[in-house]
Symmetry: none
Subunit: 224 residues, 2 copies
Amino acid sequence: MRILLLEDEPEMARALLEALRRRDVLADHVRTIADADAMARVGTYDVLVLDRRLPDGEGLDLVAALRQRKYPVPILVLTALGSIDHRVDGLDSGADDYLAKPFAIEELLARLRALQRRGPAISDKYLNFGNLSVDPRSNEISIAGSVVEFPRREYLVLEALMRRPNRIVTRSNLIEAVYALEDEIGSNALDAHISRIRKKLVQAGAAAEIRAVRNIGYLIRAKA
Amino acid sequence: MRILLLEDEPEMARALLEALRRRDVLADHVRTIADADAMARVGTYDVLVLDRRLPDGEGLDLVAALRQRKYPVPILVLTALGSIDHRVDGLDSGADDYLAKPFAIEELLARLRALQRRGPAISDKYLNFGNLSVDPRSNEISIAGSVVEFPRREYLVLEALMRRPNRIVTRSNLIEAVYALEDEIGSNALDAHISRIRKKLVQAGAAAEIRAVRNIGYLIRAKA
DNA sequence: CGACATGTAATGTAGCCGCAATCTTTGGCA
DNA sequence: TGCCAAAGATTGCGGCTACATTACATGTCG
């Protein structure tokens, strides 16, 4: 599962991100409404999670704007304001669920799953690029029409790249996507994974390749 | 406002063209993907509007092809297929907005205006000048429609110049753009990079050139 | 115990990039 | 206008380094 988290409080954000990552929920984190809007335009998410009070405005305004544009992804609103009135405001604006702080991480996860399940038959079913297709729900990858097995780490790297085809994904992004925070990585483990992924890609006849961007990271793009 | 309309159904096309004309929107109308591709290469448009099902193929394939060539103009996709899955496909392929038939002309016009308005933001993704296009997100440069490889330092120099076309960028600015602070540069390394960039530019048929400004720096400008 | 995943390390390798040598252009000045 | 010094342009060369690949050890799960 893949979510966009819009949260400006550093502590809350960090705790959430860590908890989500342990559950294999991939979260993009932004701190402003403007950034969230931009990410929602280009990214593909299962659920959007946002705070109400944000440095550049009111979260519900973003909800309204997205819904006005028929943005189809379910939205869950976090807030420190737990009163019923506010809750109604949240739902009226077009959000799909509402969660008052403080809350148990487990409850958040349960609600995310619920939203994903009942979600308007959304989208993130597959990440497609070239003849590659990644299914984030089953963690299956198919290349040129047939399923190719990838071990966990390799899968996570490739999924991270597929989330942003044609765009550079930094080494640190990739490492974050693959490893829990506490895991320390000492050497060229990432390089080794890339190498193994490449081997599988060519072996399966993928129409995409992974290129290194020196000193920065990697990107996946159409094969020359 | 000036748009390119790719629509093969005669009735729909005629109705749209008339409505657009009343709103002082200049529309070029083509019926095939091939024609649209040709027009996009030579014409200058604010928005490209296209249908999905077309006599010579699938409209989204054109979108993908244009985006692969870094074609910077916002694209709005019309379709009779209104399901969310299709919507996501459309956005994934690189389109900027999506409109399901049937729709009110007013809504189309509103979306066109929106795309035009945020158009600069889109081309902000790309730095365009002449037939050069720089994509800072992938560090890719395309010249006359095809991608040209630039090594890291050359890319950084060219990107810095492309951020201020027709204006002088000082040597120190360029060096700052290319080198980390601690890196000291002892000789004419910058000149060497400029030279190598120039060679690639002429080789790729760029309609721009880099001129030296004695004792100050360099600038990029339209080729004589 | 066997198969597989995955971090680590050793080794290979490509190609970037700085340097310097040489050639060309420019502009100041008489 | 002609000359010269300085700035810029070009190009080959070689070292460096990040990346690639492979083998191996360790861990893990059945």
